[in-house]
Symmetry: C2
Subunit: 385 residues, 2 copies
């Protein structure tokens, strides 16, 4: 793959996380890049999110760099705002940029003071090299992730899009999730990027849940360096962005904390898209559905029951349920099928749940989630210890 | 304790569940008892719920018996309505009652045809003896429960109230939950009971969650035999009922699937009671909060983050969080505390989470839930196998 031109990267171990694995990254655009971003809708907002939002506006969407750390969310701490500002100022100085052109993002534990000095100490040597690879940044921003998430698309022969994301738990985005960074060398204005990002996010990261918990630090950003000299049509930009973000969203679900399986949930025939989404989201968040799939148990009654409490009107007696493409419930009632065979099919790494309502409308929606295993509990019962 | 007069009980193993443990129960009032009940609000409703609701109305709230089975929810099956009607008719015949005076309730797996013949075969011998104890009924209606749930109250020297409930998973009631049966020998009309039940349910069973999944079979019923000859005031009736239902709700949370701890969540100072309830419910349903408490990890950032995505406006910078009575977060920021000491306190069987918002209002609400352990996953990954 060809990476978008105009961007350089740096990573290091600054000492913010306990294990000695890179925990600090820079994404740098050689020239100010047109940038759009969506942020968490949690009322409790981390200091770097507040500052990133402010700087992005002050810089009128023309951004030089993201400075990203893992190991500490820099949220709900006394020194949060000061530490975020310090890091941004130091990065700006090292990169010869204005402070408002640098945006901070953090991920990790909430409520523990972050030692900004560690970042300040690391920045000069990072800015001096900027020789890291795209994959190294994707790895440096991981927390409980077991693998780095990257996705690539080409708009045409000369324009490419490359995205990365982290996220494994506390995943239930509303308008954004976790940390996601997409770079392109297309030419685009911040307003064009914003529009494309909002449309793409709605059907990708906003259709993703691991545990129904919305983080305090969510950011998804897209930067356009313009280095290709090519200005794509709005539709082409939106489609390329959607393709990259959908791939990242699926990778996040598949790597959900403790997950063994990616689950795709399709709801069709609801009275509206919003109704379909609500039903799909409720199924995707049901611990009973997700544990059944963990156990390869074709317990479709739980799927129907979850749809039933979604708060959306539909007729259960005109509803069919499919598991791995096999009809297991017709008109709200049991269908004969081989439990053994279907259970074997549910052992696969990708599982599909489909709920079809007849006669209500044409609303449909797709959600991605993962199965719910003992490992999720193990990871989260001892996250800080 | 003195049990309410006027009621008799029977239980047997009819063969509906795999293990040979009582799975069928009768609660019989000697005379038609004034009865009120609340039912699941799931759109997908089990056949016995449909019939119980219909019979209760047709009998104008004067009921002779409940027939209750575990091992099969009789929900989403082709024969559901017919099987429920058969069982009710047979019970009515055996008890010399009218069919509308008998209400059915079922709990167990969804979507598997229920063999009504097993119930018909068992009924004559059950109706002939009616010699079972109250505790035996409470045990017969259990599914994944590890212990029977009972609660008792006295209105005065001559009137008593006794309740039982089952429930361990798929617990997220809206207006009712699981199966709950309360008997009293007070004199009361069905309308009086209905009013008292609705008020009591709102602050007890409706404030209970194990996994956020609302069942298709929920029923809570109160029957008044009138055998004491005493008519209590509406307030006294409501208070006694609330006391019994609160005790049962706490027992259900404490015995949640895989649970080791009962968690009480208090939210105070919200703009309204509804706002407080919404925040408390969101915290209670957060897998991250519940796994942290499973691991005795005082990770209060997750509590604040859950409150932040509850969809209710409040000022995080004027919010305090207490764990086991100890302040861990003041004005949205970290407070110094001994992690080790608090972690030890969180090892207790009962944990308390308290979120206090300052300056917003006087709305407060309490919810009960349980911690989230590997055992929940183990139970639910193989429920049918």
């Amino acid at each position: 793959m060809n990476l978008p031109r105009g961007f350089r990267y740096a990573t290091t171990y600054a000492g913010l996380r306990k294990v000695a694995r890179d925990d600090l990254a820079l994404i740098v655009s050689d020239e100010p890049a047109a940038t759009a971003a969506v942020f968490t809708q949690n009322l409790v907002v981390a200091a770097p999110v507040v500052l990133a939002r402010k700087n992005l506006a002050a810089a009128k969407g023309r951004v030089r760099a993201w400075i990203i750390n893992a190991g500490n969310a820099n949220c709900a701490t006394k020194t949060g705002a000061r530490v975020a500002a310090q890091c941004v100022a130091a990065a700006a100085k090292a990169l010869d940029a204005r402070a408002v052109e640098v945006l901070p993002a953090s991920t990790g534990v909430i409520g523990v003071e972050m030692d900004g000095q560690k970042v300040l100490d690391a920045l000069p040597r990072m800015a001096a090299s900027l020789g890291a690879g795209f994959e190294e940044v994707a790895a440096a921003i991981m927390t409980t992730d077991t693998r780095a998430k990257m996705a690539f698309a080409r708009l045409n022969r000369s324009v490419s899009v490359a995205g990365m994301a982290k996220g494994s738990g506390m995943i239930h985005p509303r308008m954004a999730t976790t940390l996601g960074f997409v770079m392109t060398d297309a030419v685009a204005t911040p307003a064009e990027l914003r529009k494309a990002l909002q449309k793409a996010i709605a059907v990708t990261f906003n259709r993703l849940t691991v545990d129904g918990d919305t983080s305090t630090n969510d950011v998804v950003s897209v930067m356009a360096s313009g280095a290709s000299g090519v200005r794509p049509s709005p539709k082409a930009l939106e489609m390329a962005l959607t393709s990259v973000l959908e791939s990242l969203a699926k990778q996040i679900a598949a790597d959900g904390e403790g997950a063994r399986k990616l689950i795709t949930i399709d709801v069709e025939g609801a009275s509206s898209e919003a109704a379909a989404e609500k039903i799909a989201r409720t199924i995707a968040n049901s611990p009973l559905v997700k544990t059944a799939i963990a156990g390869s148990d074709p317990n479709w009654g739980r799927i129907l029951a979850a749809a039933g409490y979604a708060g959306v009107k539909f007729d259960p007696s005109r509803t069919d349920v499919y598991l791995q493409g096999l009809k297991v419930c017709a008109g709200g009632l049991a269908v004969d099928f081989s439990e053994e065979e279907l259970s074997k099919k549910l052992d696969e790494r990708e599982c599909s749940v489909r709920l079809v309502i007849r006669g209500a409308g044409r609303g449909k929606a797709r959600m991605w989630t993962c199965d719910f295993t003992e490992e999720y509990i193990r990871i989260n019962a001892s996250y800080r210890t």
